[in-house]
């Protein structure tokens, strides 16, 4: 159980910076998710913490110890790969016992700890099976048992749920969170799945092109994204560009419309982007007094909800409404409405004022 500190960590491959000046403090027992698209450098950050890859610059401390130059085998880290990386020639017991046997743990203690770890992931009784005889979800849990059996200081998870189907993934997510809490182990998870990041983590690190875009709690990152990339990557967002109006409670859009927003600290006339989440956007029948007139171009029924693609004078927007009765058909004339406080404003060409 240790804290993790990354100080200005960079990794260059030739002229390309895969990871660019990343600093991160993870508190003891915290669950942090590194979220980013493929090629964002998130896995490189993880492999550097694991010691399978070494930074070109910067330092990494685990539990107060500088491990920057330490090989992976001496870091005492539990690592779970997306591919599970179970040893195909060993049965479940030998796989889970592997980290204990390289640490020269005695036979009796090994047996006891392997059984305990398998019980924790609810796989007791599977000791003699080969990995090839297990389902994906079971293999995943064996990999998890193997990563915690030797009581590592920290747990690193590289897209551990990526290969599971949706239903199973939700189950394993809950189990993973329960396990992490009960062990109290500092955990870093890497994923490109925003739902996974939002549902599992204490904090999310959004990474793009090797650079940190935002570090925040899930709710904070979703509701108050620091820039367009974060807003777009964490779910769907409508972007409206304009300038702060004279009363600083509205934004003047390029087309001349004024839309209401929460009080802004930015000066009048500042160029901003207003971010509006689709589920905060309500569609009302035409003439009911909405903010922007809109025409439904497409209605997508999703069961729990309906997604509307609408055309407004400022361009296309997306609205998501609960999938109850009624609704609008394509071609319907409607108007879009929202609460002023649901608009999140970011100044153009920079990060948020907060």
């Amino acid at each position: 159980m240790s804290s993790i500190h990354l100080h200005s960590v960079s990794k260059h491959y030739g002229a390309v910076a895969a990871v660019d000046d990343v600093s991160l403090d993870v508190a003891q027992g915290e669950f942090v998710t590194i979220l980013g698209p493929s090629g964002s450098g998130k896995t490189t950050v993880l492999t550097m913490i694991a010691g399978l890859n070494h930074p070109s610059a910067g330092s990494i401390h685990i539990g107060g110890r500088d491990v920057t130059a330490l090989p992976a085998a001496q870091r005492n880290i539990g690592l779970v790969f997306q591919s599970y990386a179970l040893f195909p020639h060993m049965n479940v017991f030998d796989n889970v016992a592997f980290p204990l046997s390289v640490r020269k743990v005695g036979a009796r203690e090994t047996r006891q700890r392997v059984e305990e770890a398998l019980a924790r992931v609810r796989l007791d009784g599977f000791e003699r099976r080969k990995p090839s005889q297990l389902s994906g979800g079971q293999q995943q849990r064996v990999a998890l048992a193997r990563a915690i059996v030797f009581k590592p200081d920290i747990l690193l998870l590289d897209e551990p749920l990526g290969a599971l189907d949706r239903k199973l993934r939700e189950e394993v997510q809950i189990e993973l969170r329960r396990l992490q809490r009960s062990l109290g182990i500092t955990t870093i998870l890497v994923t490109h799945d925003q739902e996974e990041a939002l549902s599992l983590s204490d904090r999310i690190v959004v990474l793009d092109h090797g650079r940190v875009q935002q570090i925040a709690a899930p709710r904070e990152a979703y509701l108050r994204p620091s820039n367009r990339f974060v807003a777009d990557f964490l779910g769907t967002a409508n972007f409206l560009e304009g300038r702060i109006g004279p009363d600083r409670r509205s934004i003047l859009l390029g087309g001349g419309q004024a839309i209401p927003c929460g009080a802004s600290t930015l000066p009048e006339g500042a160029r901003v982007t207003a971010i509006l989440r689709p589920e905060r956007l309500a569609l009302e029948p035409d003439g009911a007094g909405g903010i922007l007139p809109a025409t439904v171009s497409e209605a997508v029924y999703l069961g729990q909800s309906v997604r509307y693609h609408v055309e407004t004078p400022t361009g296309p927007m997306v609205a998501v409404t609960p999938g109850g009765r009624g609704g609008f058909a394509a071609g319907a004339q409607v108007s879009a409405a929202w609460q002023p406080d649901d608009v999140w404003i970011i100044p153009d060409g920079g990060s948020t004022p907060g």
Partner: protein
């Protein structure tokens, strides 16, 4: 059920080849092997003859010894080579594979005679050794078992290296990384993860080399200079010099049984490798 019903149609595609094989390969072999127990009447006398005549046992023993040593030599030389090739960039892997395969493009006869130029009393190796003063007289590399083993190892090395290399490439690096992250040193990763995963291919390649050496003819004929006859050379003598077809048939049967037994072992090893 479906496979049974489809069987006749698929069978039709291989039927011409099957008939050809039956007529010109399998039937003559069976007839020839049958001579070992049917000539001049039902008898096992030719097998008794094999056992009682020490020369045949010596030939069989020598063949076995050469096959075992060649197999070990190929494994000892081939494993590090395949391991080294696995670590190369993919471009260099193609180049290295081409170099390993290159000898296949040169006639086995040419390669075998080339060894005479290299290893003969006035050959390159002996001249260098003599010039350096490392030996007082030329070392006898040829016309003995050593020469035959050098020759067979050279010819058969690719048969071990290529499948072994292919199997090693398939070993996922992430398994090795996982082992390392779990606390295993480099040597432990090799011993406990990499080597066990490459073992089925090493075993299969070794058995292939063993089987091929067991029936080798040209290399022992040339590099052994007639002084190191193996089973195939003995068969040549029996048939072409002494016209003793029955004894040759009995010896062939022994050769075939050993080969089939090795093949069965390799299938068994392969099946075990596949399930693990």
């Amino acid at each position: 059920m479906a496979s049974i019903r489809r069987f006749p149609a698929e069978f039709g595609y291989v039927l011409p080849l099957l008939l050809l094989m039956l007529a010109v390969f399998i039937l003559p072999i069976v007839l020839m092997l049958a001579r070992s127990v049917t000539q001049p009447e039902w008898t096992i006398e030719h097998y008794q003859n094999l056992i009682e005549t020490s020369v045949y046992l010596r030939v069989l023993g020598r063949t076995l010894r050469i096959a075992v040593i060649t197999t070990i030599a190929c494994a000892v030389l081939g494993y590090p080579l395949a391991y080294w090739m696995r670590g190369l960039s993919s471009q260099r892997q193609v180049l290295a594979t081409a170099l390993v395969v290159l000898p296949f493009w040169i006639s086995i006869l040419v390669r075998t005679y080339a060894w005479i130029v290299v290893l003969g009393n006035a050959g390159v190796v002996n001249r260098v050794l003599l010039d350096l003063g490392l030996v007082g007289a030329p070392v006898a590399f040829l016309y003995n078992e050593l020469g035959v083993i050098i020759g067979t190892t050279n010819v058969l090395l690719p048969f071990l290296v290529l499948p072994l290399f292919a199997a090693m490439v398939r070993i996922d690096d992430r398994l090795l990384h996982a082992a390392e992250s779990l606390g295993a040193s480099r040597s432990t990763v090799f011993r406990r993860v990499f080597f066990p995963l490459s073992l089925p291919a090493l075993a299969a390649g070794s058995i292939l080399v063993f089987i091929l050496t067991f029936g080798f003819f040209i290399t022992p004929a040339i590099l052994g200079g007639g002084r190191v006859p193996m089973v195939a050379n003995a068969l040549d003598l029996l048939i072409n010099q002494f016209a003793r077809w029955e004894t040759a048939a009995a010896l062939s049967t022994v050769l075939l049984v050993v080969t089939l037994a090795c093949f069965a072992v390799s299938r068994w090893v392969g099946a075990r490798g596949a399930t693990s």
